[in-house]
Subunit: 536 residues, 2 copies
């Protein structure tokens, strides 16, 4: 069987997504990653349409790809104009891209109502454009825009448009479900008719996700003979997005026996997904198939005890094949086995002597009933397990804190905190300000602890989340605070729950510092260094 | 053709999703919305597995549904135990739910490796469990867990398990793609074999989205004869989630001619999606098919000019059919008409003399860039428009406030607030405590205003939401506070944004009180009553 070609349009159709936008330099970085992972075609932009895309093609000329072909996007010539006079087509040639992707109209409604020309002229536009680009040595990918809609309304005309492109020498004819309204059942029959009309020309598929079916429609097209699949990383794109290549590549390779990416490259998929998401500065979708953080996360106790016996029990594939990993979450749905599994990951053996792991599970369930959620707070979970097994050695103790917030008329709020702690036999009181009460507390605690522990310099709070658990009680509702912290080589999360947002924040803050200090202590003791109690 | 039954498991399988968790009260609220929109079955939880679910079933008994049937979830009896002795089965009966959904093993690997019994005993467990529940008058929905995986590995045994359930009287046999690894092509042939073996029993489908194919697989099952579809609102669920009912309902009704929800109810889909997302406090997925904020948003210039000629050019359906709306993201002009439209809804005419609505639009855009979101805060939007058009008449002014939070050792935090305000020419200072700083502020402000305005007695804060906008800056991140308030006959929302959570809360609180007082004043002036300034 012919191999499948992956055609990425993250840099063009992907940027039609709400909130998705890349600079020319960012586009280049993404293109280099796409090349590295073995994508066959990279559509860089529409050089005739905007200066940023022009700039990208200039940059790309100086950074040739290892494997991928670069494609530039454009449309058929304007009605009544010769191709060589058409600004968009000149820009396509000028871009230096080896492949030209041009879209033309397949749907009579678009011909007469949108570009407002007649049906014959549209056929001529397609023929002329494809022919002109071929004469100029470009590989031509012809995008039959709205093909499925056009086919439903005026089958003969839709077929005539792709026949025009094929006769003019298009290398690949791509059937586009531009509005995303087509069902998988309709794909096969349409491909069969096109194949019947066009003979052996190579066909491709370009789908949108308006019905949540972009991936399914792409697979249906491959099953029906398509040899090129268009899509974007993470499915970014206008409205509900394009077909997600991070799902299509593993599906074709691992489930359909239609290889399109090497096993080594598949292992880079998760990191490609993250990289593009970070570059776009979009909140990652944890539930994204194959590459999301939750894609192989297990929460239910029944599931966890089963995967401990055999991972296939609740995993449709080995997560490492796409560079992802299994995660076990601890929550009110979980049983003894989640807790034991998780504790073992943290280096604590619960099955040991005298420890009643059933009691521990029931305490955790009680806390979760009250709003704690340990599946997202590994740091607090460790501190809690230590407390429940009498292994907790507090590295500091709170004597007291005071936080004051003041506001005068239109002036912004001012927050101050004083914190008094005890470390070993010594106590320390400090004060600090901050962006708000929690920030002031963080600063004061850090300052107080800094007198005893120098390692804290490398620790940062990197994320802060607040959720009201029981909103219907207004400002008397309980809130859950989640804090992510990091140092040079480690990330951990801690949690606090209270009706008082400051109390909840304090719990999460205190756990985070306890966790960090305990970790430093363990590392030092592994290296046999003494704990540097500055004031000891 | 037989109508399709929608079976919602948001409250059970949905809560397996990472970060998805509901209190019993929240579950009830969601269940009532699901009932209202015409979902046929609502799976409330697993009463034998955790106390929160038990609590939900108790609540649900006091709030009977209008149309929906309530289902309780559980598993087949334990190996070697009689059904009447099985704790889980007793809990199913005790829940009071009319339907019992029980899952049993279809895959021989699970029988021998996970529950560690023999293949014959598993068949007996299925038969006994279904029979016992039927004898006790329950409608039985039998979930054939891992049916597709089992069928691939040991077809005869998988078929024997569903035959056992059917013979014991199961009302519906649901084929589950538990691991989410099945492709749409495989669904039809498997259904055909099951139909051949079981005859006329009703079949259902339960899919997971690990391959991004949950919706496609559900549609394929309906095409192959399934009459019940399991799924969750927004596709929430373990790993990559379950089949998304907010896509499946419109697809079946509008695209496949298999009605399962009335046209009036379909129009509530978007608001159901929002409600469940807000209750879970999960960041909404804008690109979600049908119901997402971007699902009908147009960005590209070519597309926008085309849909202005004919919306079908780039829309696969009318967004209003699912309660959504078209959004145009590009032009300043459209922003202006949006704002004018929204202002008109609130009774403010912006097109009037001397008002520069372009400037207002640009101020609003600046604020939204900074994190405000006025589409969810009508109260603050009204106050803002009044300020921008010099129509704002503050009914009170803040002189100052002070909030103090104190904590000593293990004692809970204590919060106090003093608030000084000015109303007319008079000022008033009060103090109050609260569950936390915001609650203390709310109480103190309410007490101060109460001296002047008696109408405040009927006003309550009914919801309080906090979201960190820019998490990566730790406790210096900006937070957005949303407050919902209500009185006897009205609900309004207000917003505040700041790096300081107390400042943000104050903005939302102050707007809420201003809004309420202005509304009372307008109502009184319509009735020609004087404003009852108690101390006037």
């Amino acid at each position: 069987m012919e191999p499948i070609l992956l055609y990425d349009t993250t840099l063009r159709d992907g940027t039609q997504g709400e909130n998705i936008s890349f600079s020319a330099e960012e586009k280049l970085k993404i293109a280099l990653r796409l090349d590295d992972i073995g994508i066959h075609y990279i559509e860089g932009g529409w050089p005739g349409s905007n200066p940023k895309d022009l700039q990208f093609f200039e940059l790309a000329r100086r950074h040739p790809f290892k494997h991928a072909r670069l494609a530039a996007f454009g449309c058929t010539r304007k009605p009544g104009r010769r191709p060589e006079e058409d600004h968009h087509l000149k820009a396509l040639l000028g871009s230096g891209a080896a492949a030209a992707a041009v879209f033309g109209k397949s749907w009579d409604l678009h011909v007469t109502r949108v570009i407002e020309t007649d049906l014959e002229e549209n056929l001529a536009m397609i023929r002329d454009t494809v022919g002109f680009l071929r004469q100029n040595g470009r590989e031509v990918v012809y995008d039959a825009e709205h093909f499925f809609d056009g086919f439903r309304r005026n089958r003969d005309y839709a077929l005539a448009t792709v026949a025009a492109a094929a006769e003019a020498g298009a290398d690949v004819i791509v059937l586009c479900d531009t509005n995303g309204g087509t069902l998988p059942f309709d794909i096969g029959p349409v491909f069969a008719e096109v194949r019947g009309r066009l003979g052996s020309v190579r066909l491709g598929i370009h789908t949108h996700n308006d019905c949540g079916l972009a991936v399914a429609n792409s697979l249906a097209a491959v099953a029906a003979g398509a040899v090129m699949v268009h899509g974007t990383v993470n499915g970014y794109g206008e409205r509900c997005g394009n077909a997600d290549l991070t799902a299509i590549a593993p599906l074709l390779c691992l489930k359909m026996g239609r290889p399109c990416m090497s096993a080594d490259n598949l292992k880079k998929l998760k990191s490609l997904s993250r990289f593009v998401g970070e570059t776009a500065n979009v909140v990652p979708m944890h539930s994204r198939p194959f590459v999301g953080r939750s894609a192989f996360a297990h929460k239910g106790g029944v599931h966890v005890s089963a995967i401990m016996k055999t991972p296939a029990a609740y995993e449709h594939m080995d997560p490492e094949l796409v560079g992802n990993q299994r995660r076990v979450l601890v929550s009110d749905l979980s049983g003894k086995s989640n807790v034991e599994y998780k504790a073992r990951e943290l280096g604590i053996e619960l099955a040991g002597d005298g420890i009643d792991s059933r009691r521990i599970v029931s305490e955790i369930k009680q806390l979760e009933l009250g709003g704690y959620q340990f599946d997202v707070a590994d740091g607090s979970f460790k501190v809690l397990i230590e407390k429940l097994t009498d292994n907790f050695q507090p590295l500091f103790e709170l004597e007291s804190f005071r936080v004051t917030i003041e506001k005068d008329r239109e002036q912004p709020c001012q927050a101050h905190a004083t914190v008094k702690i005890r470390v070993g036999g010594k106590s320390e009181i400090t004060a600090a300000e901050g962006y708000g009460p929690v920030s002031a507390l963080d600063n004061a605690l850090r300052k107080a602890l800094g007198r005893f522990f120098p390692d804290l310099d490398t620790m940062r709070l990197s994320d802060f989340k607040v959720r009201v658990i029981d909103g219907s009680r207004g400002t008397a509702a309980r809130v859950r605070v989640l804090i992510d912290s990091r140092d040079q080589d480690h990330i951990w999360s801690t949690i606090g729950v209270s009706e008082d947002i400051i109390e909840a924040s304090w719990q999460a803050l205190a756990d985070s510092f306890q966790y960090k200090l305990a970790r430093e202590k363990a590392l030092r003791s592994a290296r046999q260094e003494p704990l540097p109690l500055k004031m000891a």
